[in-house]
Amino acid sequence: MRILVQEAPFDLGAETKEFTAGHMDIGAVVTFTGVVRDSEKAPLQVMEIEHYPGMTESALTEIAQEAQTRWSLGDVLVIHRYGALKPGEMIMMVATAARHRKDAFEAAEFLMDYLKSRAPFWKREVTAAGTDWVAAKEEDEDALSRW
């Protein structure tokens, strides 16, 4: 299991390759990547991501450990960035490796659902119209109930 919280960009291809390398017992790798999308209000200049150093790492570790107890996984990788990001930049990725794809897909979805509303990150959109905190969506909280 590898959890990285960083300001710097990451290389999705290199990370996925490294994550997959050396495992002879897995038949499935699922990756999900979150990308900075344009604002619905006005053209997005910057997405600022704030986090809670210390708690962020422990929350992500707990979520990943929970995934490992629920599914049969060879490995889990979570990378999440903070700081000022431009539209189109990658915010985060998760990767799951498993013997079979069902475990890998489900675990990746579980990780994403929990990461959205249980990892201490806050996003703020900066546009020409001003600066707005991104509000949490009720459906994101509801998504947890299916697990």
Partner: protein, 81 residues
């Protein structure tokens, strides 16, 4: 104890963290003490249902006891991913 604020809670209160001397028994009691201090706290804590709290970096709730707590953090619902 150390009290931390994030996102718009931090903006409304005007600082990211502070050392607070308090004998509050629960998180709610601590919030009551802060709100009684100054308007900026009242503005930040106006709607407690819109806030989340962590005690020693673990998500908790407003009824939770503070005994032994070293760090309490207040923030809006998280928007990771």
């Amino acid at each position: 104890m150390n009290v931390l604020y994030f996102a718009w809670v931090r903006e409304r209160i005007g600082l990211p963290r502070e050392e607070v001397e308090s004998a509050a028994e629960t998180v709610s009691d601590l919030v009551d003490e802060l709100v009684a201090r100054e308007d900026r706290y009242a503005a930040a804590f106006a709607d407690r249902s819109a806030l989340r709290v962590a005690i020693d970096q673990q998500l908790s709730d407003f009824d939770a006891p503070l005994k032994g707590a070293r760090e309490v953090a207040f923030f809006p619902p998280m928007t990771g991913g």
